[in-house]
Symmetry: C2
Subunit: 577 residues, 2 copies
């Protein structure tokens, strides 16, 4: 796995979580795979958090190895389960484990609760639908019996999006609802069931020649960090973004048609690339996060798969302001857009250099002597996607602009190193948290003219807490702005401590004039801030739509998108922009 430690190595918990354990629910990703911090990172954490090796000799947090068990009777109207059985047969479950396994997502708030055996807001029954018709029947049944309905896709929500606040049914889409419905090579589209996972979709498209007799291989172009444990349906209803979105666009640019089962009936959009036939219904349904109905089928644009055209680049800038200027110029120069585009601020750059073991190599000193100093220098990396000449031209322009802003080329090697970790960095979280070190992220959307202000204000707050790391990067870039990502790492062990800090960060994101989410969505966790973000008149539009589709508030109820929040539970920080 990673390089062996030279000195003391913490007693990492590397065993596969026991079957039916709490840990098997909250642990990220592949049960057999673990990732631990490199020794340099471990040393840094000890320094920053005032810890010694002694603190890493035993776990400070519950490991959650116990079998899931709780006493929460099933509370459904009489006759409901029988009717449900008529629809799905045995493809349903009421075991403690199955119920809990679809109740939580992957924010630290979820993980902490599971470690501490805090069982809240679970469904009464979990259903594994096999096709669209079953889902339509279930929506009808729930509407008839007034039973709340939730959906669990990949399970990587960090917004408490899937949590079953009112009990009822949760549709676990992973097991049976993940098939290809149609592949259209002429139009370059694929239609899939909403439970289709990221990796299965990508594998399908990469193998289109073999599977569909296609002329070439395709890619979905959508690779969120949660890729391996995310679903097409989740991407779509939350307005997700992949790490390659600077070229491919966010999911709302990629989805071309959708079908939903709502209490009001089926909503189906047409697969035209553009129209002028009234408001855009695709864009009304995306972002509804399950509150209007259940997404069943999704038609996505697909792209030619040409990984041979990944021109990788990485550069070191002398400081954040210069780097931001350069990033903006690349976005605005109209040379086409790189696919991955990631600019780390000084604190993240320092951490990454530790993470990749560069900080103790001669490179670190060399960089300093050239004027790229620690705590100031900023790492920028990325690669291209598209046709060969298109990609070459972007790489050429990136080089030209980076040089203009006195950045030093570090070649594509740093990008390759980043690529290795891009989907498995989340595994680090569990290893570190066993020792009380918590990490989580918040992200937001920012215009270029507000970028420096948002970066400064939010980080100032983050650092008002002693002994806390706050790394920031910009990714998902546009000519008009970018997404800013705040990753904090801190020693904290209680739910309250986590929620207080997280809340403070979000307050400051909103105060500083950013949009509270670029691609994680709102769910129940961010909901109190939403009306402040978009304004009351705009919130009314969501409520009107909600009331139309779901007058009995049965679809993902309990705070999602703030649709059924009481006034007292809302925040009203109205950002100036």
């Amino acid at each position: 796995m990673s390089k062996p430690y030279k000195g003391f190595e913490p007693k990492w918990h590397l065993e596969k979580p026991p079957k039916n354990s709490y840990r098997s629910i909250f642990k990220w990703g592949d049960p057999e795979f673990n990732k631990v911090p490199k020794e340099t990172l471990y040393k840094m954490m000890k320094e920053i958090f005032n810890l010694t090796d002694e603190d890493f000799k035993d776990y400070s947090e519950p490991l959650g190895l116990e079998e899931v068990k709780f006493d929460r009777p099933i509370n459904l109207p009489k006759g409901f389960l029988e009717k449900l059985k008529e629809i799905v047969g045995d493809e349903m479950s009421t075991t403690d484990y199955d119920r809990l396994s679809v109740a939580y997502g992957k924010t630290m708030y979820d993980v902490l609760r599971l470690r501490q055996h805090i069982v809240e807001n679970i469904p009464d029954v979990v259903v594994y639908p096999e096709n669209k018709e079953q889902i339509e029947a279930i929506v009808k049944l729930c509407t008839e019996f007034k039973v709340p309905l939730y959906v669990y896709g990949g399970g990587s929500s960090v917004t408490r999006g899937v949590e079953c606040m009112k009990g009822g049914v949760s549709l676990d889409m992973r097991k049976n609802f993940n098939k290809v419905v149609d592949f259209n090579e002429i139009d370059q589209t694929i239609t899939v069931e909403a439970g289709m996972s990221g990796p299965k979709l990508e594998e399908t498209l990469n193998n289109a020649v073999k599977l569909f007799g296609a002329k070439r291989a395709y890619t979905c172009g959508h690779f969120p960090q949660s890729f391996e444990y995310s679903s097409v349906g989740g991407w779509t209803v939350t307005r997700g973004a992949g790490q390659n979105s600077t070229y491919y666009g966010k999911i709302e640019d990629i989805v071309i048609a959708q079908e939903y089962a709502t209490p009001r009936g089926i909503v189906k959009t047409e697969p035209f690339p553009a129209k002028a036939t009234g408001p855009d219904i695709n864009q009304i349904m995306m972002g509804s996060e399950g509150t209007f109905g259940v997404l069943t089928h999704v038609t996505l644009k697909v792209f030619r798969h040409m990984p041979e055209n990944h021109y990788k680049f990485s550069y070191m800038f002398k400081d954040w302001n210069t780097a931001m200027e350069a990033a903006r110029e690349i976005m605005q120069c109209e040379c086409g857009r790189p696919s991955v585009f990631r600019l780390s601020d000084p604190e993240e750059t320092d951490c990454m250099m530790r993470l990749y073991g560069v900080d103790e190599s001669p490179i670190a000193g060399m960089l300093s002597s050239l004027g790229y100093k620690p705590h100031q220098r900023c790492l920028f990396l990325g690669f291209t996607d598209g046709e060969k000449g298109f990609c070459k031209n972007i790489a050429r322009n990136v080089r030209k602009i980076c040089r203009k802003y006195k950045a030093l080329s570090l070649t594509g090697a740093v990008t390759s190193a980043w690529e290795k970790g891009r989907f498995n960095d989340p595994y680090l979280r569990d290893s570190m948290q066993d020792f009380g070190i918590m990490t989580d992220t918040l992200e937001c959307s920012v215009t270029w003219s507000q970028m420096e202000h948002v970066h400064q204000l939010v980080r100032e707050y983050c650092h008002s807490r002693p002994n806390t790391i706050c790394m920031t990067h910009m990714s998902h870039c546009y000519p008009q702005g970018a997404n800013l990502y705040f990753i904090f790492i801190a020693r904290m062990t209680t739910l309250e401590e986590f929620v207080d800090y997280w809340t403070g960060i979000l307050d400051h994101i909103q105060k500083s004039g950013a949009a509270i989410s670029h691609h994680h969505g709102i769910g129940k966790f961010f909901a109190p801030w939403l009306e402040g973000q978009i304004g009351t008149n705009q919130m009314e539009i969501f409520k009107v739509l909600k009331n139309h589709f779901d007058p009995d508030n049965l679809m993902n109820p309990g705070g999602t998108l703030g649709l059924d929040l009481e006034e007292k539970d809302k925040k009203f920080i109205r950002p100036k922009w």
Copy 2:
């Protein structure tokens, strides 16, 4: 102007329309400018329509030179005009001419009515608002007095979008509501009042250095054929597209924020390039065509102005199917997208060659001898926009793909010829119509896999009418499909004849599986088809929004978007796609 005729030349009406005349309302564009068909085109028309020079010795249609005059009393609630005056002072009018001048758009249906002095559906009063606050007050006033409210932007609607079916107020935005509100060079955005005209916006951006002290010149990237007489507000509420949309996108891709005055209050969206904060309110408001409220401010993305990077190209293909294949390959190869991208079918190609006078030159014969035969060959032309290397790479890929499909390069000269006419071809309409030759267009959105079917079915219908020209081209292209444009030229003189034929074409567009509008919008003319297009459940979403914003149906009422149509007035052709 154009080349003198060698033989007989029709007695074109070239005088500036008399002041306050019907002709001054329906005549396209600049009152001082006219355009007449080249002699070759004139000859062709005689042939096709079985006419002789004799038929062109005098006008067969009313020229509309008379002064506008009618007897339509003003019908407004008591006290309303006084209140209106409190808001806008003298910036309002109740003269016959001013009322009629904002009642019609530019479809042949409008022109025919005006030629025949058919005065229908005019407002009671025309108002020239000066700022957003006045519009907000007017919306409130109309809501209070239950007076219908219409908006007139550039006046180039071909959907009866501006027609005041229920009388009331029409806001004429051209005169006073056309100022720049904010220019933000860092974010590359401009905020303007909705009445801003296309040319004024473009001129402002081209002169950003002088006007705003900007670092460089910018362009709006949006050039519909109606450019010179269109408004930013009209583009936005109808989901318009410019001729350069293949690179710049449709208006819904360019608009980043909007503000509306609705009976329910102000709706304002945020200027973030992307968000995950619920459904996309920008995309809910765009396409509402004035039925939710009045658009006041619009923030648009702007682009670097680099006309020196227009790489022009034109090619001749041997036949339509091959040309379509090539067009699709260009769109799907991910080399970046040309800006103007226009592929004419054989009939349009033949007409264009006449229009540009090529058909009698040696080139025509040469083309034939090389296998590019009349009635089969297809002209493809375009140019690039963007950074130099980006543009060069596109031109290179276009060349490569065109060669692969055996197309013959005609250099950029044909494109230059097309550019000269691109905004003034509409002037031809009036000259020809004075002699009873009518021309109009219908356009639709089509997936690649349906392209051949739609092209064939619709044209079959068009040609079921004898002596009729039907030219077709593809423009506004995407990896998943394109827009198809049907231009018909026919000798017809009555409203009924026009409407019957027009209706038949639209029926066939819808039957064939296309979307009934890619960028003209729906208005009142296309409204009966809309519910068939999008489906009843989807139509319900529009109605719910309408009822929320405008429960008394005062905003552009009388059929717009089919929101207040009776069932009997709807068509229900449900296309298969």
